[in-house]
Symmetry: C2
C-alpha cells in the first residue's frame, strides 16, 4: 500500500521506455484532497538537478497536487533543454490531472549529464495518469528504483490517520540529504507549516544521519503530502513521531540495500559536549575509507576509529576515549583493552560504540562498509 | 645516496626483528655537523602517536643530531608504556652517539594500538648505530617501508650544496600531512628558522596537496636536518625551491606507489577566486569515492566531478564550469560537450582540469583511484 495507504492518494508506476532494460521507470502520485498541503526538503548540493530547481519553486506555496518521478536519468547538468523537459513533464501531468503545473513536483534519478527524451516523458506521464489507482503505491515504489535491489516502503499508523512512504537510493548516500528520492503521504489534516516542521525534524535525525559513502547527490528530494482525507487533525507531537518513524524505517532500508555493502554499520557516539559534536565524530568514522575497508575484512581495527575522530574539531581528549565493537570494548582510555580476536564482525549488523567522556550528548550515524562490490558497481555504473 | 648525499650525514637500515617477515625495519640517520639545525612538520591529527609527542618536544629548540625511524608498529594509542618505548629509543641512540636524547627525533609507522618490544628496539638501535656509514641512505629508505612496494628517494643539487631525502607512505595518504614519514637532509649552512620557513613553504604545495584516500595518519612527520658541512650558505629562494623540488618528487613517488591504485590523478583547478578555494574544490573531487571508482573503471563520469564540487563553499557558478579529462572537454558551462567516448582513461596518468571561471587562482591536487586492490589491501592490513 505504501504511499497509497493513507486515504486520498492514488499512484501508478509504469515502464515508459526511459530505461533501455524495459523496467518500470516512471511514477505518478496524486493527492485527491480535500487538502493539497505539502512540504519538501532538498539536496544542499549547490549543483542542483533541473527537477530540484523546478520543485523548489513549485513547493514554495506549501501546495502540491501531484508528483512525477522518473528513474533512468537525473536530468542534471543538461542545460536549458533539460529544464524544458522538467517543465513540460509538470505541464503534461497538470493538464491531464486538471491542476496547475505549478502544483506538480518532479523528481529524477539516474546518470548525470544526459538528456531525457521529452516525448518519451510526455507519453509516459499520460500513460501513468491513465492508470492511477488507490493500489498503485507498490508499482510507484518499483518505478523509482535505480541500482536498488528491492523497493523501500513504509506505513505508520496514527490515531485515525496514517503516514505512508516510498524511497529509492543505493549509491551516493550521504547527508544533506542522504542521496535519494522519498515520497511520504498522510491523510491527516495538517497545514503546510506543520508538515514542514515535522518533515525537517524527522529528516534531521534520520536521512541526515545516513552516510553510506560520503557522496552528496544533485537530485535529493524528500516530499511529504497531506490529503486531509481522514478528516482527523493529528496531535502535533504524535505526527512528528510518526513521520520520524517512517523516515527512520526508510533510511534503514536504504542502508540495508546500499550498493555493494556487506555490513550495515551503526556508529553510536556518546559523551559528546553537544549533539553536533557527536554527529561530527560519528561522520568522520563513517567517511573513513580505511575503517570501512577494515569492517569489510571483519577486522576490528579500532586504531582507524581513533585516527578518524582525531581529525574532528569536537572537544574531547583522544586519550580518554573508549571504543567497543559489537559489544566488546577493544580500546579503553586510548589504549588496547579486550583482545581484538574477541570481536565477531561476521554478522551484517555492526555496532561501533564511541564513548568520548567529554559531555552528555549523543548521536547515531548509519553507514556501510567499503567493499569490492561497491568499487565494481560504481566503476561500471555508466556502462 | 638519498639522505646521505649531502655531506655530514651517515645512515643505516637494519632488520631489528620488529617485522615478523625479517625485512629491514629500523633506520638511524645521524647529522655529524658542524651544524645540528633542524625543522619538522607533524600530522595535524589530534590523535598523535607517541613518537610524534616526543619529536614535537625534541625539535622545539631547532636542533636535532639524529633521527630513529621504525616500521612494523606505529606506537600510537599504546599508553604510557608506549611513550616509554619512544623515550628509551631516543635515550639509547643518544647514549650510543654521545648526544643528548633531547636531540634525537623518533618516527614510527605500522599498525595502531600494538606495543613495540622495548628490548628489540634497544638492540636494534645499538646495532644500527654500529653500522652507520656515509652510504647508508638506501638501506634507511628501505627500512621505513610498510606496504610500499619500492623505496622513495631524491637528491637535488644546489650551488655548492645538496638536498637529499627519503619517504615512505602508501596508505592513509591525506593532507595535513599526507600520511608518511619523510627525512630531508642538506649540507647547506642554514639556521633553524630558515629551515622551518623553507620546509613549511615546500610541504604546503606538495605533501599537503597529495590526497590519495582522504585518511589522515596519526604518525606523519617530515623532518629537515642541515649539517652545514658544505660550508655554503644557500640563497634563501634557491634553497626553498630545492626543498620544494625534493618534496614534490617524493610526493609524486608516494602517489605512484599508493596502495592498490591503478591511476595517478592530477586534479588541476583553474579560475578560482582564491588559492584556498581552488584547493577546496580539488580536494572535494579527490575525496569523492564515486569519482574515484569511475576513474578505476576508465569512465569519464564528469557528472560526479560536478556533484562533488557542488558540496564546497568556494564561490563559483556550477553552471559556468568546464571539465576536461585527459585533454577532452566533456563538460562546457555545466552541460555535455565532447562525447565521453573521446576520452582515453587507459593510461595510469590521468589529468582532470576543472575551470571555474570565477577568478584567477589555481591549485593542483594529486590523488589516486579507488580500486578492488585498495579495498583488499586495507581490509587485510592487520592480518
Amino acid at each position: 500500500m505504501t504511499v497509497t495507504a493513507p486515504a486520498g492518494f492514488e499512484a501508478a508506476g509504469i515502464a515508459a521506455g526511459i530505461k533501455r532494460s524495459g523496467a518500470l521507470d516512471l511514477a505518478v502520485i496524486v493527492n485527491r484532497g480535500p487538502s493539497n498541503a505539502a512540504a519538501a526538503v532538498f539536496t544542499s548540493n549547490r549543483a542542483k538537478a533541473n527537477p530540484i530547481l523546478w520543485s523548489e519553486q513549485a513547493i514554495a506555496d506549501g501546495q502540491a497536487a501531484a508528483i512525477v518521478l522518473n528513474s533512468g536519468g537525473a536530468n542534471c547538468f543538461t542545460g536549458p533543454e533539460g529544464f524544458q523537459v522538467t517543465h513540460h513533464t509538470a505541464e503534461t501531468a497538470g493538464s491531464a490531472l486538471g491542476v496547475s503545473s505549478g502544483d506538480v513536483l518532479v523528481c529524477s534519478t539516474g546518470l548525470i549529464g544526459e538528456q531525457l527524451d521529452i516525448e518519451v516523458l510526455e507519453e509516459g506521464v499520460l500513460s501513468a495518469v491513465a492508470r492511477l489507482t488507490p493500489q498503485g503505491g507498490e508499482d510507484a515504489a518499483r518505478a523509482i528504483m535505480t541500482t536498488d535491489t528491492k523497493p523501500k516502503t513504509v506505513v505508520v499508523e496514527g490515531d485515525g490517520w496514517r503516514v505512508g512512504g516510498i524511497a529509492k537510493g543505493a549509491g551516493m548516500l550521504a547527508p544533506g540529504l542522504a542521496t535519494m528520492l522519498v515520497v511520504l503521504t498522510t491523510d491527516g489534516l495538517v497545514p503546510p507549516a506543520r508538515l514542514d516542521e515535522a518533515l525537517r525534524a524527522a529528516t534531521r535525525v534520520t536521512f541526515d544521519r545516513l552516510d553510506s559513502d560520503g557522496c552528496m547527490s544533485t537530485n535529493d528530494q524528500v516530499t511529504l503530502m497531506a490529503s486531509g482525507a481522514s478528516g482527523v487533525t493529528p496531535d502535533p507531537a504524535a505526527f512528528t513521531d510518526a513521520v520520524t518513524e517512517a523516515c527512520r524505517s526508510l533510511a534503514l532500508q536504504l542502508q540495508a540495500d546500499a550498493e555493494g555493502a556487506s555490513h550495515d554499520i551503526t556508529i553510536e557516539v556518546r559523551g559528546a559536549v553537544t549533539e553536533d559534536d557527536a554527529v561530527e565524530v560519528g561522520r568522520s568514522v563513517a567517511r573513513n575509507n580505511l575503517f570501512k575497508a577494515a569492517i569489510f575484512g571483519n577486522d576490528p581495527n579500532w586504531g582507524r576509529v581513533l585516527a578518524a575522530i582525531g581529525t574532528t574539531q569536537a572537544p574531547f581528549d583522544p586519550y580518554l576515549v573508549d571504543v567497543s565493537m559489537n559489544g566488546v570494548r577493544v580500546c579503553h582510555a586510548g589504549r588496547p583493552d579486550a583482545p581484538r580476536e574477541q570481536v565477531d564482525l561476521t554478522p551484517r549488523a555492526t555496532h561501533v560504540l564511541i564513548e568520548l567522556h567529554a559531555g552528555e550528548a549523543s548521536a547515531t550515524i548509519w553507514t556501510n562498509d567499503l567493499t569490492h562490490d561497491y568499487v565494481h558497481e560504481n566503476s561500471a555504473y555508466a556502462s
